[in-house]
Symmetry: C2
């Protein structure tokens, strides 16, 4: 039987001032991860060693100065490309700094370009701090924008939140609530439904069952509390269903997640950020994954942030990061054909 | 030791076409309820007997034609004031009808007036169907409006959702999402905070710890995704804190409930309906209670609806109704001074 190649994951170290370094060290020390993938970490060896110290775990990685150096045989499945880009003295614990942002931005960019060049199958990163990212990269709006910048192409990408087998996509995201209703158009909903459907198929769902949340309380209560469900969302759902997307709704947003949790749906499309985030975080804050989907390769990270409040204490839960890395590995393996049995990567 | 009088609860039968009749029968058959309060049920004996049949429970009530008749001695703690106001043949299962709405409206009105007259200490009702209520009472907007109509006074009342010990109040409720932001004013938030504080004190909280949710994603992310947190919500929170309300925020709405669930707060004030409802229903759909607070007496009902989809099958969970009735009893007992040990009725 031929040996199937393990997928390669480009692993970018995130913000150095929170829990990212200790999460990285913990992940790199897990047998289940080391046996399932080849990992190429982009970051600084000194920061990673600090993380291992905080986490109280050993650090057994092969350090190289460039990915090319790592191409040599017999170097093992765990490489750290030491960019030598942040001295521990520059780290101000629990503080967003220009140096920290520059570090995370560079690691992420290198991981993306490495993967774009075909040298890895997926990207994973430990949490960023948006304020620090903006100090180092002023046009940093969110990850989607940054990835498009780095890849040099405006992919029609979308951010998904994944919890166990349940996916959540949204029509609008980081916009003021006052602007949400005006952005709920038939086109925006259709686009989101098609992206969700195609992304989830790529992730292994044969025909993902998507539920659509309403915008208004009680999904508008038959038009009494808003008409978007009748005038916009319903017709968009019907149009998508006509295109062979398995979709139902709109449903009241305060019960649709109960149904999804019970297994009736594989995904919920929400109209705005908190509609989905409130539910997903309540259902599994310690396991939630953010997936940037519909790029040529999957990009995964834990859904939580840098947790400055518990930085340096060694108490960070690694669960969501492990789930994110596992999702990246499963999706990469599927794309590479080395996990033929998985119906779904969610 | 003197015998403390049990509180009296006016119990209004709700919509007859869903699970309300079986819930009523189940509740009236529970020893824990029968031992804790005197119940005066307003409805129709035939409908209640149908409910008992569906629920598969016996019905052991004293039937009277008017509350006055029930004033006689030795009639026991469980009276049904049979208004003879709905024949079972008029009930169309799982359908909102004028007859069903008229029935529920009349029962609720009678229970309210009975309690207003000082003959009961609190009101409880099984679920209504809003569409049916509107058929029978065209200006039926929501319960608050109706109660004010019946009581003949515009009380500054508020709807609370209560789950175990956690309360949720909101600044806006049954309005289209497009209209929410414009209604988030300093005055509206301050009013809601004061109502929540005074209502919870009346319910037994010495000094309720209230968390306030932001309006925008990430509570506006420092103004990047909306400025209401900086310009409106924050100042309102500070003004309330200055008035000796124990209040903190605004917090991102996708994590504030995690903190409340962990016991850090007694209440969360949300800016709009689904922000709280998504969380409360996910945390305990089977136990959630709706309380109409800041009236001269508490009015409680389960947070769920008439569940037409499972009507007549005898499978309805009575948990939320039991919690609602227990909250009514606790608040009534506290108002009457017969439950001196309870710090909190939540």
């Amino acid at each position: 039987m031929p040996q199937l190649a393990l997928p390669t994951i480009a692993f970018a170290m995130g913000d150095p001032a929170g829990i990212s370094p200790e999460l990285a060290a913990k992940l790199l020390n897990m047998d289940e991860i080391r046996l399932a993938a080849r990992l190429v970490v982009f970051g600084d060896e000194r920061i990673l060693r600090e993380g291992a110290k905080v986490a109280g775990v050993p650090l057994d990685v092969t350090v190289v100065r460039s990915p090319e150096e790592g191409e040599g045989a017999g170097l093992g499945n765990l490489l750290l490309v030491d960019l030598n880009n942040l001295h521990p003295d520059e780290v101000v614990p629990a503080t967003a700094t220009h140096a920290g942002g520059r570090f995370a931005v560079e690691n992420f960019r290198r991981a993306l370009l490495f993967t774009k060049a075909g040298q890895a199958d997926a990207v994973f990163f430990t949490p960023f701090n948006k304020a620090a990212m903006r100090m180092a990269y002023p046009s940093y709006d969110d990850e989607i924008r940054f990835v498009n910048d780095v890849l040099g192409q405006a992919f029609p990408a979308s951010e998904f939140n994944v919890l166990d087998r349940l996916w959540n996509a949204r029509v609008t995201s980081h916009v003021p609530l006052a602007d949400v209703a005006a952005r709920i158009t038939r086109e925006a909903i259709l686009r989101a439904l098609r992206l969700t459907d195609s992304c989830m198929r790529a992730a292994g769902f044969e025909r993902p069952r998507i539920a659509v949340a309403g915008l208004n309380p009680h999904a508008g209560d038959g038009g009494n509390f808003g008409r978007e469900e009748i005038d916009v969302i319903g017709p968009a759902v019907q149009a998508a269903a006509h295109d062979d997307v398995s979709v139902e709704g709109p449903f009241p947003s305060d019960t649709v997640f109960l149904r999804a949790k019970a297994g009736q749906f594989d995904a919920v499309l929400t109209m705005y950020h908190d509609q989905g985030q409130i539910a997903m975080k309540l259902m599994g804050f310690d396991r939630g994954v953010t997936l940037l989907g519909c790029y040529p390769f999957p990009i995964c990270t834990p859904a939580h942030g840098t947790a400055y409040d518990i930085a340096g204490r060694g108490v960070a839960h690694v669960g969501a990061s492990r789930e994110a890395l596992r999702l990246a590995i499963r999706m990469a393996a599927r794309a590479g054909g080395s996990e033929p049995d998985a119906r779904a990567a969610g």
